[in-house]
């Protein structure tokens, strides 16, 4: 009997060690990556780097245009994907009947979330760039990214809505509220934390995307700031990709510096998401 207990304990400890090892592996890799990027790119981060246009000389080049492009894309993608995604999520969860068609749609949306992003690029090239004639504009790029993160937003919205107890819906209906009133006054406020968190994480994924934008032909080298959604554009990941493919050491350093900027934006967004999630969790206790 005690042998059996000894064996169980050894098994337990063994897994603890393996688990720590697995976790450390990920952390060490991330740490190494951050260290190499920051040690190489940090000195390059100067006011000049943020305010300069592209240039043939690495020390004169800057990220003004792709940084602006990224902000533009972030705003436009949000404007397109948030209403579409949240509305779809609400429809599917609160209004749609739970039949076989609904579960088919559900499976397909989950599948869409896993489709490689370059496929979205090909779809967008055909529909937005060619058929709708939007060209390789900011609007095309934002529509492409919006499409890419739509399934993520829909799934996040549905999960957040599902977390609201059924008893709240019943209480609202029983007082004579319509579905929309129930959704607007009770369900959405109670699930806002989850929805916002999901949306921010989706946006932070979108701004790191490169492949679909390259497919639709986002410009690698432009020298004017975009001033409308129909203008050509570039974004940080594309600029990084561009610089990394140059032979000169100076451009590699530029790329690592741009990576730091992109990482900072992503980390800030994720930080906001985590903050909001914690705050809302504290506020709503059932």
């Amino acid at each position: 009997m005690s042998r059996r207990i000894d064996y169980n304990r050894i098994q337990d400890n063994l897994f603890r060690i393996v688990g720590i090892g697995c976790t450390l592996f990920g952390l060490l890799m991330l740490g190494f990556f951050l260290y190499s990027v920051i040690s190489e790119g940090w000195p390059r981060l100067s006011a000049q780097f943020f305010t300069s246009l592209p240039s043939r000389k690495p020390e004169e080049a800057g990220i003004l245009i792709p940084l602006f492009g990224t902000i533009w894309v972030m705003v436009l993608t949000s404007l397109i994907s948030i209403p579409l995604g949240v509305a779809s999520g609400i429809y599917l969860e609160e209004y749609g009947k739970k039949n076989r068609l609904a579960s088919l749609i559900e499976i397909n949306i989950t599948n869409l979330a896993g489709v490689p992003s370059i496929i979205y690029g090909l779809l967008a090239l055909e529909i937005f760039v060619r058929i709708l004639g939007l060209g390789k504009s900011l609007l095309s790029g934002s529509l492409t990214l919006a499409l890419l993160i739509l399934p993520i937003i829909i799934v996040a919205t549905r999960e957040a809505l599902k977390a609201v107890p059924k008893t709240i819906r019943e209480a609202s209906y029983a007082l004579g509220a319509t579905k929309w009133q129930t959704t607007w006054f009770q369900i959405l406020p109670a699930s806002a934390g989850g929805i916002v968190t999901g949306v921010i994480l989706a946006i932070s994924r979108a701004i790191g995307e490169t492949a679909p934008l390259i497919v639709i032909g986002a410009m690698l080298y432009i020298t004017t700031l975009p001033s409308s959604p129909m203008d050509d554009f570039s974004v940080l990941p594309i600029q990084i990709f561009n610089w990394l493919s140059r032979p000169q050491k100076g451009f590699i350093i530029n790329a690592t510096a741009a990576i730091i900027v992109l990482l900072a934006i992503t980390f800030i967004l994720n930080g906001i998401a985590i903050y909001l999630r914690n705050r809302w969790q504290k506020k709503v206790k059932w």
Partner: protein, 252 residues
């Protein structure tokens, strides 16, 4: 023909293939308390929820027969279900206040009707909370979250919220089953007082409670209405053996 408060005629309910209410007919008179009793799954809650049409959203729900309230078929096409639910309030098993202030909880039913006048809202809040016998406990904290109250207080907030829209019937689905004995006593006392202004239908698993609060008792068993008569009658002199066995606790 006198008009009953509620008249149910040959009501059958199906969830997909399952036949959960079998040919139930009964009448309920105004300003009475009627208790629905019976073992779990006997259909009493389903029947209760027919009266404010809360089953409408359940996929696979189907009903035959008629339910008339004040002589009007509530499943008629021209009846708006939102309108109906203002007339027929409901209190649930688990206290389910909205995660908002006490004040906002009570006036929710008015807000959704587009009533925003402060004086009307204030007056409604006080009147409803008084009727639900909780005004004295919360009058100084109306802006506090309703979720911060105890279970028994939450349930009385839910009752106040229901009364705020001036229903004529109040449905209660085991309103005290999640509460401690003292809160339960308060709710029962309240039910007794509310009877003067409302018609109350209560589902309960507690025989003593049914005996204490109700005028009439309906005993359901596997979807059928087995016996329906005055409370005294059913507890002292039940007609059916099944009823006798259930109320004496021989099964349940």
């Amino acid at each position: 023909m006198t008009t009953h408060k509620l008249l149910a005629e040959n009501v059958n309910v199906y969830y997909d293939q399952a036949h959960v209410i079998k040919d139930v007919s009964l009448t309920i008179e105004p300003n009475t308390v009627t208790a629905f009793i019976g073992p779990s799954g006997c259909g009493k809650s389903t029947f209760l929820r027919l009266i404010n049409r809360m089953n409408d959203y359940i996929d696979g729900f189907r009903k035959t027969g008629h339910i008339l309230i004040d002589g009007e078929d509530i499943y008629d096409r021209k009846i708006r279900v939102e309108e109906l639910r203002k007339k027929i309030g409901m209190v649930f098993q688990k206290p389910n206040p909205f995660p908002k202030s006490i004040y906002e909880n009570v006036i929710y039913g008015l807000r959704i009707q587009g009533i925003n006048k402060k004086s009307i809202l204030d007056e409604t809040v006080e009147r409803s909370l008084r009727r639900a016998a909780i005004w004295d406990e919360v009058k100084d904290n109306l802006n506090k979250s309703a979720l911060s109250l105890s279970g028994g207080q939450q349930q009385r907030i839910c009752i106040a919220r229901t009364l705020a829209v001036e229903p004529s019937i109040v449905l209660m689905d085991e309103p005290a089953s999640a509460l401690d004995p003292i809160s339960t006593a308060k709710i029962e006392e309240l039910i007794y007082e509310l009877k003067t202004q409302y018609t109350i239908i209560i589902v309960t698993h507690n025989m003593q409670q049914a005996g204490r609060v109700s005028d009439r008792v309906a005993f359901f068993y596997i979807g059928e209405l087995i016996e329906y008569s005055d409370t005294k009658e059913i507890f002292i002199n039940p007609k059916k053996e099944l009823t006798q066995n259930y109320i004496t606790g021989r099964f349940g």
